[in-house]
Symmetry: D3
Subunit: 335 residues, 6 copies
């Protein structure tokens, strides 16, 4: 089983699981009867009325509608919060020590139970803000999936590989890669040992490629290098119950259903999970003298409504040539 | 007594109570002595510096200035709140059961005492957010009026007629009509039996007609069909005291004065209450295949500062022809 | 030989001719040595500095660079002009009579020699304006290709099929389909009999899908239904000379080279020719009463710099249900 | 016969000739049969797709459709041009000498035959530019009307009154008043002696009230003081023929019909002619020291697409108090 | 010792302490070795990626980097808060009584210990909001400085002079002057007796000069009249320890270092403290009739992201001529 | 005599000739009597109503007003044109051969008589377009000056130094430097031998520093490195007449006066000539692999009204390190 991907940031992708050719309706979204008797479902990633460049949605053709589940109930796992007043503010610069991963032999911990919130600002209800979480885990998620009702997850694995099964297909993410799973997309995480990483969550805006200004039409993260999974489904009854977990207003809730939610046979649209390998970042920098500001290493940005001001940027410090003449070697002091 | 209205959404209207012809000053707003010795007062509905399309204000010519009242004191009636953390979040879809209206014989309840907040987000101090309230009442407001210092009320009567007396004149609103009474406008409500309805409140933005894009210059709610009251005043001393109630930062406050606040003899401006009959909505929809998103039924929208993203939309599902070919009859599943 | 297409309006597409797997460089655009010794060439469709939604360019990997040709010389064929003062203005409504197609037995005429300008406004040098042309032809273009240095061609076949060979691959366009070939893209046209159609040319802006406003995330021309050719090349020496024709400032020029310009083995980018079948247009219209303005049938729009004002719109009148109650049957009179 | 007006710049007005009450259809624009058997006609003043603040159109309900006329033919009267290269440029400051008005006894001249172009820039076909004309006349227009297909006329009478009959009603304009008659609106001019004035014509933009910035919600020309005619019609057959004159691409054309075009019984909309009395201008200026730039006397502005840059401004120097301390009395020297 | 200033709001200033000529590197910001062995440090006043008009930063060349201090610890002085729910809301109009200044003989109080928060809205973490503080003091700050990590201070002295020493130089501010010290700039305050004043703090936006609209290119506060200090440094060891105080998330924190932070020998940039004398305000107002809205007296504005809506305006009522005819003398009543 | 400059792109500069201290009025622009009896004159570089970032004007205090001259007359020198249809279009890439400079001994030629237009687009009357000129000269301008009424000159000396005397002061520009002299600024050119260079002229927009996007707050041409002359005047009667030459609508005109126009004793404002040394350009480029588009070398840009699309860019190819790995050495092929 080899994982395949389609390329292109923000493309209008189309994908069918090859086991069901023709599963995607032709020329319309809502036929009276879909091929194979599937259910058509739209997953919206933006207000319906957004202009084209920010209008995001996908159409999923699935075996059973996603609404077929029992009511959600509060769910006590992990250590998530969005109450930023819990801890007193501290103006000192902080570095986080490496978070310890429990041994699987001592305590099984999966991606959900291993979530910890580090810090944040704003709140999901007001559709403005961000949070930083870590995850530590040693076990795969078993008959359960997560989705985020509050915002988008940008996931940065630090140790160990993550195999994501999503409603859009499967995606393997290794250290030095990142992936983004957006609001409302169900996913389950398989791991292969002790695994750790960071999550940057944003509320109210999606990640975009930054406008490049004078850099021109190519450079930094090129849109071609973003990879999107291909349709994959399982038609699986789960007698013991499948648990759908929702992060909603900063808290977890769980609902039971008796089938796998990864039953999407075909889909099309521009609202999908995606991944990116950081080695493909085309680094731009000073080639005569002086340093550039670190914004020059921006991979993805979630814009605020003030021009030029981001809600959050994801920035890397990639390997590169340093060739500035007569320039202080470390970057400048900065406040 | 027949109620009259002027038409035109957002027009610069002019109106005089016919009992006082010439009450409106000609060619200026602030004459040294106004006709009939009235007091000129500007009611601002936006920052002074807003560009024309969002700049809102009206000039009221009244018998006594509206500032002539005793200090405001906290006022314990109704069940309003804007503390959204009072109730735990719940990700399940909710439908509200019909709210029970008390019998007038058991307990007199007017529009103010019968207010209940259902839910909301954001807060009025930050000028960003919304709330949903219900009102249930069986009695008219007697020698008291309300105004909202926090935002605008879009009022949807569900059962029973509402006769609004406002500083701008009188307005009768029946089920299948809606009305909007904006920040700072005083009004009193007469009812004619058991009465119930919804209120959508927005902070920091006024309702607008949506831009129509390809729909063109006509369609959905046409601006011509919005009706505005004509000037009406009473010059009435209220020996026992008239109570002016203010909703301020989500709470009620009351001040006493000894005259009716509905003493505006003439006014002009583009900041007024208005009503609309939902039957006049020109419905647009798919006429070949597939469903359109429900945004196509938007009557009024309160814009956020993100293009295409509303703070709140008021959307209806009007009677219409459904003629799409080869299309699933109920609208699509949607998340 | 079956023609294949990729779908998605404005996508970042990638394509390799299957005869040369791996022809597309991985992870960069300009390797020191490209696979198969190809030449990398960027074709820009916008200023380098445009923001993402309007930034257009593609990378072509070809056997010989496109600059390998002799100088351009004036070329007298067809009947193109952009001197709008040649004909006196006429305020009457005009309908064009069908243009006669010469018999192939009498006079061979290909796509270039059969071009006639009907009307226009503005001029290509100022990057603002449009022109309408017709083409009538009865023969395929032989060892010659055309490209437009002035703007984009939206081509509407009226009679006869057109097989386009472009630098991006092959595209068959039949009546009831349209295609767009943008500034700088070389193409050659094969026909299969008497052929006629219209061309809408725009200078200074590309065609876009209109923003939909309240119509929502789906409707009118859906982005998924636009088709883009897949890479196809020929490595062909042309002893007798291959003629590259350029439309430049409204006139034709020709240059000779000794190989086919359709030597692009692989390409990627978001600046490509594309086609669309008009049957896939999801028609939206009035479903209660009254007519909507014809802008509701807009397929593609080329925007001016005034919000809501197009340089040119391409609008169709598709088959649809007409269900408005109590409404005058033909559309309204309109000035 | 007393002329009446409605007030409010850019309002959605409604008007019926009182001889035909109920002529305006209720709740829709296009009934199957209009009241009194009238014809519904939309007159568009902007692209259908403009956003609300710039979307302009009116609905006219008339006895016969306006398209019932014979073809237009070139028409040689007046001295209009838009060929700005006819005269050599001259960088010196110019003042125009008063234009002589011929005596009616010598030569009858009406508003159309007395038109002379002074200067201009840009051109109507490109929807960008302006022209300045004068008119001198001594006779009323008899059984003929004019409309401008190129842009809007802002008319400034200098000597003599002008009585305009338009499709929207009648409007009397005297010196110290101005009026605006926009693209496509038919009008006829009655004069009462020797009459002269200026016309500022703009192509591609309508006049607007300027945004006021810190001046606030009131001041300069107040929207309330703009007056719009009320509906008036004549149902008049013209045996000898009625001449409709069109200014099209800077030239005049004429078409014959056998009835008066002023047959609009009722109308509604926000695209209308209007007038304004310059005495109502609320003058703002320096009240401590120094002079303000003359832009502070702007009555109406036609915006270009560069923020803050007008296509044309109409500016007056009204009577006002000059109270600046320690300031050079005439305004500053300026280049 | 005479204080000197440079002029020009938002200029790219350059300044060297005259004791160290050539301290500013030529042609670059980050030489390998700075003149005099200074340390280059960038102080950012905006996101790196802001467009030019809002991009703010300065380069400081100093004896020791500003990061050389011990960790920050909570610091209990003054009476600052940003918890706006501490006090119940009150819809009545409030005037603050004059705040009493303690006698120096009874209790020494400097600028920091004499800070009191009056009111506010929003919060610094969300980069949106404002606060109003008062300061009362009778002693100079001794071996301690303050900087605001939350936003900008606009300081209005009411009684007594303030001598500011800042990283950019010295600035004397007297009653009838105002000064602005922006986020992150260290300053110390010397006073000369009992001193009192107001502070307007804004989070998330800097103060700007308002766009003037029709007022034109000159008027209100002219950019030329804003004064910026010139570079001044002290190379002073502080054996007993120098205390750097930071206002962070509405609370104070303090860190110790053993040298004066005012060790900046030269600097350049457009992010600086500045002052303005209110007498230089060029007052504009009505010169015919009626009053203008008070926005016409705006000195500085901090913009929100809604066009025309300010986060906070600083407005004055300067001496001026009142010359309106036939107008009520006090300004209009206003709600 | 050493030339001095002030620094800072677009600053609000102030400057007095040191021979007349206090020549600049304090706290106002238009005193009743200026210091030294000078005349105040405003030179506007933009519409009065432009928003702050594009609002340009300077105040000049001079011995005699600049309007004191005789009328302009056509002036036959140089070879300027803006009739782009004079030469047939040519789609081939062109390089211009070096233009020959006549020997001074054979023919005296100054900056004005040595002007030749190469090419262009658009036109000054429409405030949109550009032209490219060369100048060749061997003599200084004697008792004559030039100003451009059509647009701005960006002057690039190729051989020989240019000493500009302007109304704002003196400026020496050598090869590897550029200078910009904007619309309406009078200047005279001294040369020191055979001199040649290019001129880029833009109509309707001024040159700006490009927004840098991810490059951040520093880089490319830094604003600090732009130099502006200091005030310098001569109070010189010219008995034989001083010739003021104006370029107006692409042609030259001349007027006589009897004094030197360089009589500005002091000035302040943000509309000035300026120069820049290209060595100070902080070069940014690829430091890992691939090439960046040449927009990354933009020094100055004149913006069109389409976001990201320039009317004209001034771009250089400065010395820099080329360090990209595995990348084709010359830049990519490009169309």
């Amino acid at each position: 089983f080899i994982l395949q991907y389609m390329s292109g940031f923000g493309n209008e992708h189309v994908s069918e699981d090859p086991r069901c050719p023709g599963a995607l309706p032709e020329g319309q979204n809502n036929p009276q009867v879909c091929p194979y008797g599937l259910y058509a479902e739209q997953l919206s990633g933006s207000a319906f009325t957004c202009p084209r460049p920010t209008n995001k949605r996908s159409w999923l053709y699935r075996i059973l509608p996603s609404v077929c589940h029992k009511p959600f109930k509060p769910f006590e796992e992990g250590h998530l919060t969005h109450n930023w007043d819990e801890v007193e503010p501290d103006p000192n610069q902080l570095r986080w020590k490496p978070f310890e991963i429990p041994k699987a032999s001592q305590k099984k911990m999966d991606f959900v139970s291993g979530l910890h919130t580090l810090c944040g600002a704003g709140e999901p209800r007001g559709r403005n803000g961000l949070a930083v979480h870590v995850f530590v885990c040693n076990a795969s998620m078993l008959d359960r999936c997560l989705y985020n009702s509050d915002g988008d997850f940008l996931i940065v694995p630090q140790q160990g590989k993550l195999l994501f099964t999503t409603e859009f297909g499967k995606m393997l993410v290794e250290p030095n890669e990142i992936c983004v799973i957006q609001q409302g997309m169900r996913f389950s995480v398989e791991v292969f040992g002790e695994t750790r990483g960071y999550i940057l969550e944003v509320y109210g805006a999606h990640f975009e490629l930054p406008d490049l200004g004078p850099i021109g039409a190519n450079g930094l993260a090129n849109p071609r290098d973003f990879l999107v999974p291909v349709a994959w489904y399982e038609d699986r009854q789960v007698a013991g119950g499948y648990t759908v977990i929702s992060k909603y207003q900063g808290k977890l809730f769980a609902a039971q259903q008796d089938f796998s939610p990864f039953n999407v046979v075909a889909w099309h649209g521009n609202y999908t999970p995606y991944k990116y390998h950081l080695e493909k970042f085309m680094v731009i920098n000073s080639v005569a003298f002086d340093h550039a500001d670190p914004s020059i290493f921006t991979v993805l940005t979630a814009k605020s409504t003030r021009p030029g001001v981001a809600l959050a940027d994801f920035v890397i410090f990639p390997p590169r040539w340093g060739v500035a003449n007569n320039t202080f070697r470390p970057p400048y002091y900065h406040r």
